[in-house]
Symmetry: C2
Subunit: 151 residues, 2 copies
């Protein structure tokens, strides 16, 4: 039990379809408004990450992709690029008040759906899930920071 290899196998089996499911949930929740990658970018800005390249690194995408998605968020009036006086190479990304309230609403809806599903699990399963997510977080964070240091 708990053989790294078995876990790796399970991870590859479970995570992608779960992700597909979350994507579908989010899509139906947010209708035409916002795609999942756009939502994630807004989530990062909301949490105080305000430099495009940092967010790009965190999401594992290129700066070019980031730049384009920020364009579309700016076009929708959800995000603004504020010039940064200290270092004029980068902008300070901020949510507009419209972006902020939309983000909060979208997050709440998406969570409500997920919450309903999660409520169907047994208590013990919910505990397992919670602990498992923490382990996954650590796994991802260590792997990720290692990547960054190497590349």
């Amino acid at each position: 039990m708990s053989e790294p290899n078995d876990i790796a196998k399970k991870l590859m089996e479970i995570i992608p379809p779960s992700m597909g499911w979350i994507r579908t949930e989010m899509r139906s929740t947010m209708k035409e408004e916002l795609t999942l990658p756009q939502f994630r970018i807004m989530a990062q800005i909301f949490r105080g990450k305000n430099q495009a390249c940092d967010i790009a690194k965190h999401q594992g995408i290129s700066q070019a992709a980031m730049s384009k998605m920020i364009d579309s968020l700016v076009a929708r009036g959800f995000v603004e690029r504020e010039p940064n006086e200290n270092d004029r190479r980068h902008f300070h990304l901020v949510l507009t008040s419209e972006g902020d309230s939309f983000f909060k609403k979208a997050r709440k809806n998406a969570q409500a759906n997920l919450k309903e599903q999660i409520s169907c699990l047994e208590l013990s399963e919910r505990e397992d899930l919670e602990k498992g997510l923490r382990a996954l977080e650590k796994l991802f964070l260590t792997a990720h920071s290692r990547d960054n240091s190497v590349r």
Copy 2:
């Protein structure tokens, strides 16, 4: 603790970047050969799912998208559409011998990378992760089958 709402929040925070990380891992493992969605389709066929619409449902994508990706797998010589005599509306998808051996090789490599990362976790964390993945599986499967029955 273990409030469905907290878990939902955590899920939305952790799964997408984890997915991004797995995608990056897979990409570097499989080089130019195969994309992750293509790999997942092959995995389904490998496990005996051989009807395009079933796989499309499982992945949460449209039949049209499925059809195109199967085209590309067929073009690479990894998959074949065998006519089905019982019901000529659908094909019987099978891996070619080249597809089969490529799939096994790719899966082994991808797992080896993940395994290495997972080995860095404590034993207790690995156990948590394993249990959590099982809970996630159940969550996904029940939600998914409910979706299918409703939609």
